[in-house]
Amino acid sequence: MNFLEFLQANWRELLTLTREHIVIVFVSTLIAVVVGVPLGILLTRSKSLRAPVLGFANVMQTVPSLALFALLIPIPFIGGIGARTAIIALSLYALLPVIRNTFTGITGIDPKLRESATALGMTTWQKLRMLELPLAAPVILTGIRVAVVISVGVATVAAAIGAGGLGTYIFRGLRQNDNNLLLAGAVLSALLALTCDFAIGAIARSFEIGRKKSRTKHIGIVAAGVILASILISIALAGGGRSGERIVVASKDFTESVILAEILAQMLEREGIAVERQLELGGNIPHDGLLAGSLDVYPEYTGTAYTAILKKPPITDPETVYNETKEEYSSRFGLYLSPPLGFANDFAILVRGKVAREANLRTISDAVPLARNWQAGFGQDFMSRSDGYPGFVKAYGFAFSKQPREMDLALTYRALQSSEVDIIAGNSTDGLIAALDLVQLEDTRQYFPPYQAVFVARQAVSKTLEPIFDRLAGAISTEDMRRMNYEVDGRKRTPAEVAGEWVGNN
């Protein structure tokens, strides 16, 4: 599919994502302005507040966006999953340029004008309204312009916490190795940033001295904008809360997790149970969301739960891992673990098919001598977890001469395919393994702990879900999963469609 065909096929979803993106950026900028401009004014009056307020805003801007999103999730009222958290985080980012420019704009006014205003008998409020704000307006608007452009960019990351927006396509594109998705997400958000930059620039110019004639018109535009924004806020907030007796089904941000969540969601819907989807959430956000009560259920792997969440040393017996995890989840978190779904998604050590065939590689051990000169590329997850890289190297006696490249998991597939790296740790059920002609090397020493797929649910909803969990127990084979992953990653079909077929056939 070329890019134009892709746009033609997906314009509806693109439009929705663009709208979500605009709402997030608009509302967060509005909050930043409503908070930041008065704060900036306050700073011109109070010297002692200057350092702490500007310091706080500065620090906020240096916090990496994904970290800020993750930190906000457990906070009551403002946190949680979805657009609301993204808006709060983006508002914090946008604060600095707004506060700083309001402060500089006002303090930069000629002292003679201030004295004139005082001598005319203007009150503090009159000075602010008739002199300081109008003269500082171009500078303040420049700050807002910077804030908006930053927000358009950072908002793409917000897709990781389920806020939607164009980032959804960027993340999905990375995961599915799909340039059309990547391009559509990136190009549209860049266009959006440029459009905002231009529009606000035009408004700022109209505030420059000597452009009086069209001022009233622009005040009209600004007023209309404020009204529009208030409407958008109410929509955003209305959508942010949990509504009624719905089961909120979540997933992590990779294809398999999305498909499994879709399968569960569609089975629930067939039973007439209302479902809300919060798919493609980054990192451990689904787990945090369950604990915070904003999500109800998501697919997980026993190995991940055991080592990454319960922080236990890796062991290889599937049954022990499952039983201990189920028990500890219940006692520590009050979370319910469903029966295993049937397949396991283990770490898969992958090499290019061509290399495997030429050197006749079958097991991981076969690759050890060759790997001395190989460049390895591993996901951040694999590098850091206890059942990952350090133990793996030791277990097989790997001696890489070059330091492995640490990168996004989805990108390692790309890097392997294009020979940037020679060995990666992927997922055994990944559809891309077949699609990209990669070969999985066998873990003959059974180093990797088992990653059986299960659902994790809040105890409050586990009674509703139990009948479905029973039907799903052992129902999805590794073959099924690999095929479904390939349908999505390799053949670019939607997870909902692929999951729907499985639900229909089972």
Binding site: D110, K112, L113, E115, S116, A117, T118, A119, L120, G121, M122, T123, Q126, M130, L131, P134, L135, I209, G210, K212
Partner: protein, 244 residues
């Protein structure tokens, strides 16, 4: 004492310090209704400071300044300032407002919509309202800007005008014609004016009295004629600047 001859502005033993340094010391001064008192002196002699004490842009360190028989510190500063017109050398006009808005500003501050008043005020300073009301300050010459400044200072019809070298930045010819117009304008309107300048010619032309200041003190106070015949060395130096 008859009310007309009563002093409208009084300085009683006024001193003013900035960061511990004395800028004004022992200023005693009475300014009568309708007179134009010129504060004459070199830069840094304290004449502008004296002026700013009258509308409470600053407050005296010692002594008191009285306006209309009431100590300035007993006035609400906003009310006091609104009852006094103030013109500075340059830059006092609001750059984002038109001439009309600038002139009408003092009226809008007190919720008196400036309707026809702006036209009258511009006529008063010989600016055609039709031509000038919609222009911005940066589109005017220096002389025109100062006319607008004077018009603005007169907007609420204040009894007192304070002027800080209002014509100081203008070329000689413009300055001369503005001085003459100003003189007839305030005598026609019967305003009391306190006028700061370092130009003796201007002081003699405009002042009913001249207060010569040096190092924060008033060293001479009298009519222009008395000034011309003073034997004070500083006064003689000034007279030499206009000799010939």
């Amino acid at each position: 004492m008859n009310k007309d001859s009563e002093s409208i502005i009084e300085f009683r033993e006024v001193s003013y310090d900035v960061a511990g340094a004395r800028v004004l010391s022992g200023i005693d001064l009475e300014i009568a209704r309708g007179e134009t008192l010129v504060l004459l002196g070199e830069s840094g002699c304290g004449k502008t400071t004296t002026l700013r004490l009258i509308n409470r842009l600053i407050d005296a360190t010692m002594g008191e300044v009285r306006v209309r028989a009431r100590a300035t510190i007993d006035w609400d500063p906003i009310e006091l300032r609104r009852s006094i017109g103030y013109v500075i050398q340059d830059g006092g006009l609001f750059p984002h407002m038109t001439v009309g808005e600038n002139v009408g500003l003092p009226l809008s501050l007190i919720d008196r919509p400036p309707a026809n008043k702006v036209g009258e005020l511009l006529d008063l300073v010989h600016l055609d309202p039709v031509k000038f009301a919609d222009r911005f300050p940066h589109e005017l010459s220096g002389g025109q800007r100062q006319r607008v400044n004077v018009a603005r200072a007169l907007a609420t019809d204040p009894e007192i005008l304070l002027l800080d070298e209002p014509f100081g930045a203008l070329d000689a010819l413009t300055r001369r014609s503005l001085q003459k117009e100003f003189k007839s304008l305030i005598s026609e309107l019967g305003k009391t004016a306190v006028f700061v300048t370092h130009d003796l010619q201007e002081a003699i032309l405009l002042g009913t009295r001249i207060a010569l200041m040096e190092k924060g003190k008033i060293v001479f106070l009298g009519t222009p004629a008395e000034f011309s015949s003073s034997t004070l060395p500083l006064a003689r130096d000034y007279m030499e600047t206009i000799a010939g």
